[in-house]
């Protein structure tokens, strides 16, 4: 796998937002930077489904936007099929959009309430210049793919006439109708009820098998990531702390943060461990400067080196599991 070319590669990507919090800082010329994503590098190969896991504010959504070329990185480069996505010219950007699609988090907000389902689904075909004679067959295909049921029944309806689960299937269908190579799914089921969630995830998995796209699945829920992704990247405060096969990350987490995260996930079983969490405190301010490990102040095993030296994301075992920690 490592010999083939990655479909997506990030090289030392950072994204800083500057926020002037009050008028004093504004006049004093202080520009506090929120380091939403800092020095992130990874490669994704064709056919993979990679989960990006992290708590709110860890930069996972910013990372998704960077990959979709909706934001420009402050530093670093992103390569899609070996081309830097921020150096596209003219028609290249449209080509990129034909290959990369986004599945939104909230189906209630992601669909135009004045469009019928048919128009919603045809919109990407129209704006990306697909020939009109293909429209109907692509439409029928994708409706079948996401199991939206009886095609003619839905096409004339408006979003408010559908349930949350059906809407999310429409969102899924809209992203998949152009047969993209790469899909970014940003918390696609977090707004849905448990009993319908499973249906969406199964549709996603099946669609993946059929049209064979590569995907990034952004989520805060480890149990869902485990269900969908074979590889998981764990983020903390804008940096990657662990990257490896999902099963290993769950069973044998290396980084102390991942360990805490895994043990904090409640499971639907009665006799579960009530042991206190190994970490304390809250996620610190994202504007802070770090000369060492960002997790050091909350970490139960931190030593002096953790505060002075930034740990590198390195391969820690033969299972290709990487962690950014001095003590693993």
């Amino acid at each position: 796998m490592s010999n083939s070319k990655p479909i997506l590669e990030l090289q030392n990507v950072s994204k800083f937002y500057d926020i002037s919090r009050n008028i004093k800082e504004l006049f004093a010329g202080i520009k506090p930077l929120v380091k939403a994503v800092e020095n992130v590098s990874f490669k994704i190969f064709s056919g993979e489904t990679v989960g990006i896991l992290g708590e709110s504010g860890c930069g996972k959504t910013t990372l998704g936007k960077l990959i979709l070329n909706l934001l420009e990185p402050s530093k670093g480069n992103i390569y899609f099929l070996s081309k830097d996505i921020n150096n596209y010219e003219g028609k290249q950007i449209k080509e990129f959009k034909k290959n990369v699609q986004l599945i939104f988090q909230n189906p209630y907000d992601a669909l135009n309430p004045r469009f019928t389902i048919k128009n919603i689904l045809l919109e990407p075909l129209r704006s990306l210049d697909f020939p009109a004679d293909q429209h109907n067959s692509l439409l029928a295909n994708v409706m079948n793919l996401v199991k939206l049921g009886n095609v003619s029944e839905y096409l004339g309806k408006y979003p408010h006439e559908l349930s949350g689960g059906q809407l999310q299937r429409v969102v899924l269908a809209r992203a998949l109708i152009i047969n993209p190579l790469f899909v970014v799914a940003d918390e696609p089921v977090s707004m849905l009820d448990v009993s319908v969630r499973a249906g969406i995830l199964n549709a996603f998995n099946e669609a993946k098998k059929k049209i064979n796209f590569t995907a990034i699945y952004i989520s805060h829920d480890l149990a869902l990531v485990k269900y969908v992704c074979e590889r998981t990247i764990v983020m903390y405060l804008g940096s990657i702390v662990e990257d490896g096969p999902t099963d290993e990350v769950v069973k044998n987490p290396l980084h102390p943060y991942t360990k805490a995260l895994v043990s904090a996930v409640p499971v639907p079983h009665v006799n579960q461990s009530h042991e206190p969490l190994p970490i304390k405190g809250n996620i610190p301010d994202a504007t802070a400067e770090y000369s060492g490990c960002k997790f050091a102040e909350r970490c139960p095993m931190s030593k002096e080196i953790c505060f002075n030296t930034i740990p590198l994301l390195e391969n820690k075992n033969e299972k290709n599991q990487k962690a950014a920690c001095h003590f693993v």
Partner: protein, 337 residues
């Protein structure tokens, strides 16, 4: 003795299209020191139920019938109005959904704590501030933060403030509506552990409303499963989760992602969606989505009590062993697997 009992409660919302039967014939009880979970999907009436107990339901909602007894006083009875008012917040307090947004952004936390303690509790200002410091200590926030505004707090800390407010007047019962829903897992765990600690140290009884089975499994002793306005199964957490009797509970278990399960395990959805409560179906309300429904299900199922520990509303309760085996197979729930 039951601290709180609810008998045959019916709550309807009145709108232009008629009455939405949000809570239908709900009975449950809470003993002292018990942690009861109410679990269900959105729109199943769990929030309406929680709000009815504290008397903070929406203006369009009306309690049609039933009684809510707190220490044998029916707090819904107009004759007990003054008694009922004293029960509110002093005996039964409430942590609303997304408590993080329920703090007033333009007042300091200290002033909001004073509001509870002085107006409702009759404290003077000095006493109120002392009590606030004590409460902050209890929920694990530095009392210097009392002088801060809500926007200076993180989500988890706002939730802690909401908990501090709820226990400010030493209530016997705290009703928490989705207290950990918008929180990250680590913060969620900390808050759940806090509930556990407070329950033990203050001898609180807690009703925890949530959509998350694993939260119930982690914290509660007793659980009531709601579907379409009704409690369809209730009992000890252990027996409800491990030996569910109602097909809906079984389906919910299948649909729930489990970190400890194998990758090969298939998440099984429950097809369809909950019924519209404007015109709920007659008989069992789950029958349309239930793979085990029969003609009999067109009649309202009785509440079968298997023991003090476990009750269920399903006609096929006596076949639950076989049904549970079938329900664990994905093909029972989805046609084309």
């Amino acid at each position: 003795m039951n601290l709180l009992s609810i008998n045959n409660l019916n709550v309807h919302y009145f709108g232009s299209q008629g009455a939405t039967k949000a809570v239908e014939d709900v009975s449950l009880s809470l003993k002292e020191g018990e942690l009861l979970g109410i679990v269900g999907e959105s729109g199943c009436g769990k929030t309406t139920l929680a709000r009815s107990i504290t008397g903070v339901i929406a203006p369009t909602a009306k309690i049609i019938s039933g009684e809510i007894l707190y220490k044998d006083i029916n707090i819904l009875d107009p004759k007990n109005k003054t008694k009922a008012q004293n029960v509110k917040w002093k005996e039964i307090s409430f942590i609303p959904q997304s408590a993080m947004n329920s703090l007033d952004p333009v007042y300091k936390i200290r002033d909001q704590m004073r509001e509870v303690l002085m107006i409702r509790g009759g404290f003077n200002q000095k006493k109120a501030d002392e009590k606030s410091s004590y409460l902050f200590d209890l929920v694990g926030i530095d009392d210097k933060r009392l002088r801060d505004y809500p926007h200076q707090f993180s989500g988890g800390m706002k939730q802690r403030v909401a908990i501090a407010m709820a226990i400010a007047l030493d209530p016997k019962i705290v009703i928490a509506d989705e207290p950990v829903t918008a929180l990250d897992v680590i913060v969620q765990r900390q808050i759940l552990d806090l509930f556990d600690k407070l329950k033990k140290s203050l001898n609180l009884s807690i009703i925890l409303v949530t959509h998350d089975i694993s939260v119930i499994a982690y914290t509660c002793q007793k659980v009531a499963v709601m579907y379409a306005g009704e409690i369809i199964e209730m009992g000890k957490v252990q027996s409800v989760l491990e030996r569910p009797l109602h097909p809906y509970t079984m389906g919910l278990n299948n649909a729930f992602p489990d970190l400890l399960s194998k990758k090969s395990d298939f998440l099984v959805p429950i097809e369809g969606s909950p019924p519209n409560l404007l015109n709920p179906p007659t008989g069992c309300r789950f029958k349309m989505r239930c793979p085990f429904s029969q003609v009999q299900c067109n009649n309202k199922p009785e509440k079968f009590k298997l023991s003090d520990q476990h009750q269920v509303s399903c006609w096929r309760e006596n076949e639950s062993e076989q049904i549970r085996i079938k329900a664990s197979q994905a093909s029972t729930w989805v046609n084309n697997v």
